[in-house]
């Protein structure tokens, strides 16, 4: 049906459909923008750019939802029904291309159609795995209330692999566009900008306007529903995160010398061990009155790593070290490996033990990437 020679554009039916309707073109270029932002922040930016990465992800979510709906309710060539994905058709098409012949398609040729499906599927996979990671590891976003850390952890590699696959698919997509444009002289890029190609019979202005209006309404509805549902879900309390009220004794006695450590950063056993040997406290005597020591030990043990489901409680808190130092856990070292020693002795930081110098949310125990704020960020 949609397969025909590029040279016979006069062969149109009544009520000529738009080649690339305006909603589809706007979708395409907004997706380019959002995906570029997501890939750049995901691969290149320091962790505190995560907020931008997440916003780009949310934008991709809205765009993706719109595209799926537009695949059902859009104009002819936007509809998934017009897609031809049969193995036979695809192989036949590729053979023709290999022979140097150039069958043209008004909609998408089979290779291009596969590209669209692969790109949309990868984006969907990245979106879902991203939301799971955001919910389970960062304890943020619409899934924070339902996803636990260990579930999210299984999606970490998937998210990364899918991102590399997307990068590859984008490269193939660009190569395909270049091939069509330069070798086969099909102005596919122009079609995605103007919605037209030479010789294509422009649909009646009414037709164009109808599709634009319908697309706009559908996009607005999608945005409204997703933002509404997303905000409502995001407002639910995150799984395994209990707000801790620090007793005055703990704050007063412990923060004279060091940061206010969240109790979820050590196991109950480790806390008891530390509190039993305050006369040998990391190279100093930090002895307390028995009453204060017992009160603080009880607080720490009752709110220890085992009672939390945060990333920090799993990757640092539950990882006991012989030295009883959080900074000796493998995860701590890995995450801080690119930070020079001088950064820790910087007057604004002081030592590796001073979490709060950079982690603005350290006292919540969350240690979200978006809350990392090294002093040099302010000096730039």
């Amino acid at each position: 049906m949609n397969e025909r020679a590029d040279t016979s554009p006069t062969d149109t039916e009544a009520g000529n459909p738009p080649l690339r309707d305006l909603p589809l073109r706007v979708f395409h270029w907004l997706t380019v923008l959002a995906v570029t932002a997501a890939l750049a922040t995901g691969f290149l930016a320091p962790p505190w750019w995560q907020t931008v990465h997440v916003i780009a992800g949310y934008a991709i979510g809205v765009l993706l939802a719109f595209r799926i709906l537009w695949g059902a309710f859009g104009s002819r060539f936007s509809r998934f029904r017009s897609f031809s994905l049969t193995a036979v058709g695809t192989v036949r098409y590729l053979r023709t291309v290999a022979r140097g012949q150039a069958p043209a398609f008004d909609g998408h040729n089979p290779a291009g159609t596969w590209m669209i499906v692969i790109l949309l599927a990868l984006l969907a996979g990245l979106l879902i795995s991203g939301l799971i990671l955001l919910g389970g590891q960062e304890k943020l976003g619409p899934l924070a209330a339902v996803v636990d850390f260990q579930t999210a952890r299984r999606f970490q590699d998937l998210h990364e692999i899918a991102a590399w696959a997307l990068l590859g698919a984008v490269a193939l997509h660009l190569l395909g566009v270049a091939f069509e444009t330069l070798v086969r002289k099909h102005p596919v890029l122009m079609a995605m900008v103007t919605g037209m190609k030479p010789g294509w019979k422009r649909p009646a202005p009414d037709t164009d306007r109808t599709w634009t209006r319908r697309g706009g309404a559908l996009a607005a509805l999608t945005l409204l529903v997703l933002v509404g549902a997303g905000s409502a879900l995001s407002a639910l309390p995150a799984k395994g995160v209990v707000p801790v009220r620090f007793p005055d004794t703990y704050k007063a006695e412990c923060t004279d010398c060091h940061a206010l450590y969240h109790p979820s950063l050590r196991t109950a056993a480790a806390w008891k061990h530390v509190m039993a040997r305050l006369d040998e406290h990391y190279g100093e005597d930090a002895s307390l009155s028995d009453a204060a020591r017992q009160a603080i030990t009880a607080f720490l043990a009752a709110n220890s790593a085992e009672t939390f489901d945060t990333e920090a409680s799993w990757r640092i808190g539950r990882q006991d070290t012989a030295s009883l130092r959080m900074t000796d856990t493998g995860y701590w070292k890995r995450r801080h490996r690119n930070i020079e020693d001088a950064a820790f002795t910087d007057p604004a930081v002081g030592s590796k033990a001073n979490c709060t110098a950079c982690h603005k949310d350290a006292e919540t125990g969350l240690f979200a990437d978006s809350e990392i704020h090294p002093p040099e960020r302010d000096r730039k």
Partner: protein, 146 residues
């Protein structure tokens, strides 16, 4: 009957107020910091019969010394407090410490329990033992003049 009751209550209040004032009188106007030093003076006299007063110079030497008998991480008071009591120090964990000099930090050495707590901890860290009353008094006398 009623009136006598009211009178007696007034008298009671008056007596109570008087009692409170009497109890408060000795400390009224007295410098709590000086009281702490006086306390160490009494203890020093009891420990050393020929004790003849605290010395700011001895306190200074004590503050700047590196006895090498404590924990290796804290060889001297100055490890954390710096050699100048009038500047801010820093804990090994990176937290700022207010200046030790009374002229720079007027709320220093006003709470006996707090003073004792930090002498106990820091003397054990730096000297490997508790400080004597004479050492504590010298130290405070030095810091008061700073």
């Amino acid at each position: 009957m009623k009136r006598r009751h009211a009178l007696s209550r007034k008298t009671t209040s008056l007596l109570l107020a008087l009692a409170c004032a009497t109890l408060a009188l000795p400390s009224y106007g007295a410098d709590p910091r000086q009281q702490i030093i006086t306390g160490y003076e009494a203890a020093a006299k009891a420990a050393v019969p020929d004790f003849n007063g605290f010395s700011a110079d001895r306190g200074k030497a004590f503050f700047l010394a590196s006895p090498g008998t404590g924990k290796p991480e804290t060889p001297s008071c100055t490890t954390c407090h710096t050699a100048d009591p009038r500047t801010s120090g820093k804990t090994r964990a990176g937290k700022p410490i207010a200046p030790m000099a009374v002229s720079k930090q007027s709320d220093r050495y006003l709470e006996a329990a707090k003073v004792e707590k930090w002498f106990r901890r820091n003397c054990r860290s730096v000297l490997g033992r508790e400080c004597t009353a004479a050492e504590k008094g010298d130290f405070l006398t030095f810091m008061v003049t700073q």
